[in-house]
Symmetry: C2
Subunit: 249 residues, 2 copies
């Protein structure tokens, strides 16, 4: 892969974190592609192996390190011929540099994809963040958003608890229990002045079905869809947000 | 993989036919698993390469043969370590014996999985069939259903056209246009006496969202879910319908 718009081979997807998010990414990649028949879609290979140790626990010093398991799946994708890799897990991007250093294939960066998506959506004003405790605490999004000129609002303790509850419900196959806490967190950020909110954990879009997102009176950017759009731009299926290949860090 | 319930390694998924059905299979595999956390799910590898020539056209003598493309994806899954393979495309099973003869890894059979699912659901009386023209014309389901004691109703010309319209709308990313023709076909089969209907093309479950299936007053068996259940039984995640490993032909 040299330039955006020129990819033609397999898109590798390092999924499993969680597995429903991995599958949802594969589905949204298809749904967001302008296509009239099967053969128009991007060829993809999804490694949806959920045996990766929990990323959030590891990063907060409470569990085993997931890096080796993620590298094993990356190697599988590389050996199978992936020419570009997407990782539909925000927390996993806390290991982005370590993964990129040990992988031959370019890795899309979900945070850059989300920042591009905010610009595509014309977001103005303070940006509220949602995500896992590790993502929020270790500042995965804060600096990149500030570099794009956005003021960043991090959830308070109640908001973090709402994120945790929504994410856990999705991971436990109870998406119907995930909507209320996720919606409460969005409303809390809105009340504090957020004009847009980043769904910065790939379980959160699954907590908030697309058809129920209209009522929040702000811009929502969805890290699954943003990453899918970044991948599709590399395959020339949609126009890139910018010409300078920003989605690879 | 020796006995049902003993699989532990990667489940290979030969997808791409179509790509939304492949992704939906990966998602339903997760959603149907009793699980409280990521690590409880079946590790899966989805090869979602849609560049396989159209199966229905080929089988009706109107297009190139897809066998070599399917074998290439099967080899990719084998090399990556798959210990069992599911193929979420009904029409592709017209090549089942040729694929099984050239693959070391056991292949689940979607028709056997659907027949098991009908029994699990307690279906009685005539079974209506929906699917691609090739699946219907070449009798993929008819004989196996008769062997299980079911009378089989095949759609009339209008019903076949409704199937074709629904499948094409899903493949063209217009699922909202797929419901009406699919529903009309079900109602037509019901009027002719069907007490259950097989959604025998993996685009058809995507035409009929789960929450809109209650109104048909018959048993619907969904070939995506049936195949996912067959896979989960092999991994001991759900009870198998029978003890005799019927889902591999």
């Amino acid at each position: 892969m040299a330039e955006p718009g020129t990819a033609t081979g397999l898109l590798g997807i390092l999924g499993g974190m969680g597995p429903l998010a991995g599958a949802a990414f594969a589905a949204r990649l298809v749904a967001l592609t302008p296509a009239a028949r099967d053969q128009d879609h991007v060829p993809a290979l999804l490694c949806n192996d959920p045996r990766v140790p929990d990323r959030s626990s590891a990063r907060l010093g409470q569990g085993p390190d997931p890096l080796e398991a993620m590298l094993a799946s990356l190697r599988l994708l590389e050996r199978a011929g992936a020419e570009l890799i997407a990782i539909p897990c925000n927390t996993a991007h806390l290991w982005y540099e370590q993964m990129a250093a040990r992988t031959q294939v370019p890795l899309l960066h979900i945070v850059q994809a989300v920042c591009d998506d905010l610009e595509r959506l014309g977001a103005r004003g303070p940006v509220g963040l949602m995500g896992t405790p590790a993502t929020l605490k270790l500042g995965l999004y804060q600096q990149p958003l500030r570099e794009r000129g956005y003021e960043v609002l991090v959830p308070d303790d109640a908001g973090v608890a709402q994120c945790v509850e929504a994410i856990a419900a999705v991971k436990a196959n109870r998406p119907e229990d995930a909507f209320a806490p996720a919606a409460d967190c969005i409303r809390g950020l809105r009340a504090r002045g957020a004009r847009s909110v980043v769904l910065g954990c790939t379980e959160l879009p699954l907590a908030l079905p697309h058809e129920r997102r209209a009522g929040f009176d702000l811009v929502l950017t969805d890290s699954i869809d943003a990453l899918a759009r970044a991948a599709l731009a590399h395959y020339g299926r949609i126009a890139p947000h910018r010409r300078s290949d920003p989605a690879i860090a």
